[in-house]
């Protein structure tokens, strides 16, 4: 029998204690490995610096982390809204003079993408944005120059269909949404009812209701016109719709007018109707355009449907004064009233004036790092309508202050668990040696030297460490696979749980070494076992 056969025999002879000891090593190593992987992948996931954009403009009161998590990872609640005018300030048409009193961020921002959240579909976030996000302008033409990139050198690509039009109830959906929600492309040749049956249309739910909340489903129905290729980011779980379509929802319109009143500290109950109407005009809100849903709560008289002509065509253009051609449809009983009409092109024209439009954030690709810094400075010192954050530095800071620290603590705990496991190996084998003195004496009588006995015991400990280490490695990766599934569901981004790096190998090697050293204590006891007395004692 060779050396290792003898060791394995010894281990099998005490299989229960061997397995229990191996289990304790396994738990320690499994914990440590999963923490190592989470630390590594957390760094990749959260401390990434390969954003395709460098600034996120968010609400002034929102924390940079909340703004970033909400915009990049679609996590957490939106911290608030910012005026749509900021977006306009970044996208004035080239050559056009900026109106007095407005900012001009064109020289800072190369690409600006509006970002509006608040609704969901089956628990999946609906994001209002512009076709620029997918490399098209509002007229459906491909943009010149580098299109918007969600990661460096990575732009959205369509797997099927086309990009939505800027003013239609159309949607481009992420690959995961298409697959899991069984949504498919709208087919113009089929009836609306058939398309609905096929899962080519959907209606948005207001907010993100929890399980016991009754969902408030909005009236408009979006047609799925495009399905994105997988990006392996949280965006795969998102339904993208034109931001304008979100302003055509009654609750949104009411909410924005209410927010405008709140921002101006206007309390209608303390005013006469004339004073209130005058205040509304000062805020840029035509009293006749206040939505019916809000009129009641503000104690205003019902108004005729708006005859005013809201903007049409390019979102960034000033309002073209085209007459409304499509009559507003009658409000179904129990449903929201329509707060938009369609122009002669079939484009949505929201009742809500553009001055009251709001966004959750604006994603900006600056013209250079210098301009990015200038823009950040501007929003910090001059422009108090919003705050500008650099997602890469925010996530790095988040990782360094929260994730890195906590994983370090967990890593220390797992190392302590491993040391306890090593102590367990030592105790188990020490007890085994005490009980096996006769066997050790027999091996010595058969010609085994003291060093051979020492090796047999310490290598047995090392083998338990190796076995526990390898199983722990497997279990650690398995735990991370489960974690990856969870992260994939929560954030749309999983982790590379299968990837094996040298730190893991070093850790397992360290565990084997510690186990070997732990085994030396009982091995020395075995080494000193007197042969003659133990043979006689038997």
């Amino acid at each position: 029998m060779n050396f290792f056969e003898i060791i394995l025999k010894q281990m099998r002879q005490r299989s229960l204690s061997t397995w229990l000891t191996t289990l304790s090593v396994l738990l320690g190593v499994g914990l440590a490995i999963s923490i190592l992987i989470l630390h590594r992948e957390g760094q990749n996931l959260f401390a990434q610096t390969d954003f395709g954009y460098d600034i996120i403009i968010g609400p002034p009161k929102g924390s940079p982390l909340q703004i970033t998590l909400n915009t990049v990872y679609h996590m957490d609640q939106s911290p608030g809204v910012i005026p749509y005018s900021i977006y306009q300030d970044m996208t004035w048409p080239t050559g056009e003079k900026v109106p007095p009193g407005r900012m001009d961020y064109r020289r800072y921002a190369r690409i600006a993408i509006p970002f509006m959240v608040g609704d969901s579909y089956n628990g999946r976030r609906i994001v209002g944005t512009s076709p620029q996000m997918f490399g098209f302008d509002d007229n459906g033409q491909r943009v010149t120059g580098t299109p918007f990139q969600y990661r460096k050198e990575k732009s959205y690509e369509l797997a099927a269909g086309r990009v939505f039009k800027a003013r239609r109830f159309e949607a481009v959906i992420g690959s995961d949404v298409a697959e899991k929600e069984h949504l498919t492309l709208y087919d113009d040749k089929l009836t609306e009812a058939d398309n609905e049956k096929r899962g080519a249309t959907f209606r948005a739910t207001h907010g993100m209701p929890s399980g016991n909340q009754k969902p408030d489903i909005h009236k408009p129905k979006w047609h799925v016109v495009g399905i994105l290729k997988p990006t392996h980011t949280a965006n795969d779980r998102v339904l993208f719709v034109p931001v304008v379509s979100l302003y055509a929802i009654a609750e949104h319109e009411s909410g924005m007018v209410a927010q405008a009143l709140q921002r101006a500290n206007v309390d209608p109950s303390t005013m006469t109707p004339q004073q209130f109407q005058e205040t509304l005009r000062k805020l840029g809100i035509d009293p006749k355009q206040v939505p019916e849903s809000l009129r009641k709560s503000l104690g205003m008289k019902a108004a005729r449907k708006p005859a005013a002509v809201p903007p049409g065509g390019d979102l960034l253009q000033d309002t073209p004064k085209t007459p409304a051609t499509a009559p507003v449809t009658a409000t179904a009983e129990g449903e929201d009233p329509d707060v938009y009409h369609l122009d002669q092109n079939g484009d949505i024209v929201p009742d809500l004036p553009q001055e009251e439009w709001m966004l959750s954030a604006i994603i900006v690709t600056s013209r250079s790092d210098f301009y990015a810094q200038l823009m950040m400075y501007n929003f910090k010192v001059i422009d108090d309508r919003a705050t500008a954050v650099n997602p890469a530095s925010v996530m790095r800071e988040f990782f360094n202050t929260f994730f890195k620290g906590s994983t370090l603590v967990l890593l220390i705990i797992s190392i302590l668990v491993t040391i306890v496991a090593a102590a367990s190996i030592m105790t188990t084998i020490y007890n085994a040696v005490a009980a096996r003195r006769r066997e050790i004496a027999i091996l010595r009588a058969l010609g085994a030297t003291r060093v051979r006995i020492l090796s047999l015991i310490s290598f047995e400990a090392a083998l338990v460490g190796l076995l526990g280490g390898l199983l722990g490695l497997f279990v650690g990766h398995l735990a991370c696979a489960v974690g990856s599934v969870y992260l994939q569901r929560a954030m749309g981004e999983g982790i590379h749980w299968m990837f094996f790096d040298r730190w893991e190998a070093l850790y397992v090697a360290g565990v084997v070494l510690v186990a070997f050293l732990a085994g030396l204590v009982p091995a020395l006891k075995a080494y000193k076992t007197p042969v003659a007395t133990n043979l006689a004692a038997a």
């Binding site: 029998m1 091996l443 009588a445 058969l446 042969v531 043979l535």
Partner: protein, 237 residues
Amino acid sequence: MALELVNLKKDYAAPDGSVVSVIDLEHLAIADGEQVALIGTSGSGKTTLLHMIAGIVAPDSGRIVYTLPEGATDIATLSEARRDVFRGSHVGYIFQTHHLLGGFTALENVLLGMSFTGRKPDRAWARRLLDDVGLTPRADYKPEKLSVGQQQRVAVARALANRPKLVLADEPTGALDPATARQVLDLIRRLCHEINAALLLVTHDLDIAHELPRVLTLSEINRASRPVQQTQPMASK
């Protein structure tokens, strides 16, 4: 191989601090392939003498010389580790109780006897030995599944696993019934003869002892086991 013990002495410290002489042997020689019985009462130092011959215990003084074809070796002068290796290679040891390892099968116990010589274990020879002791059908049995006689036969096979030049048998039949004892004795003698190994069999059973061609009485060759013993303070050693 021939074995020669010259002026061999071994003392032990008694609990009261005095020194007890266990072995004080002037001369003993065993020729190549010779089979010798050594008779002694309990506590007369039989096992200690065997342990010294095997190199398990080092003598306080004297020589234990093995004359092998490759030359003579006084194992009393060897380090403990080299004595262990020498024992593993040249000496077979049969204990009164079988001293088999419980977690190993009969065959593995025999192979275990070959595992510390630095040579590759000879599995065929191990099987042949088990066949010789009549345990081929029990080769894969663990000791707990064997009778006492079968266990002792496995122990005999294990002692001969390395084709030793000397087999030391310490009361090998002491735990067996007379019929089994005779079978085991015959087995030991036959196998030693087959491999031309000398045999030194220690027993207190005169019938067993007289089965062997040469019988020695320990009290005659060991001055320390004679009735009147001199004791002296430990400090004088």
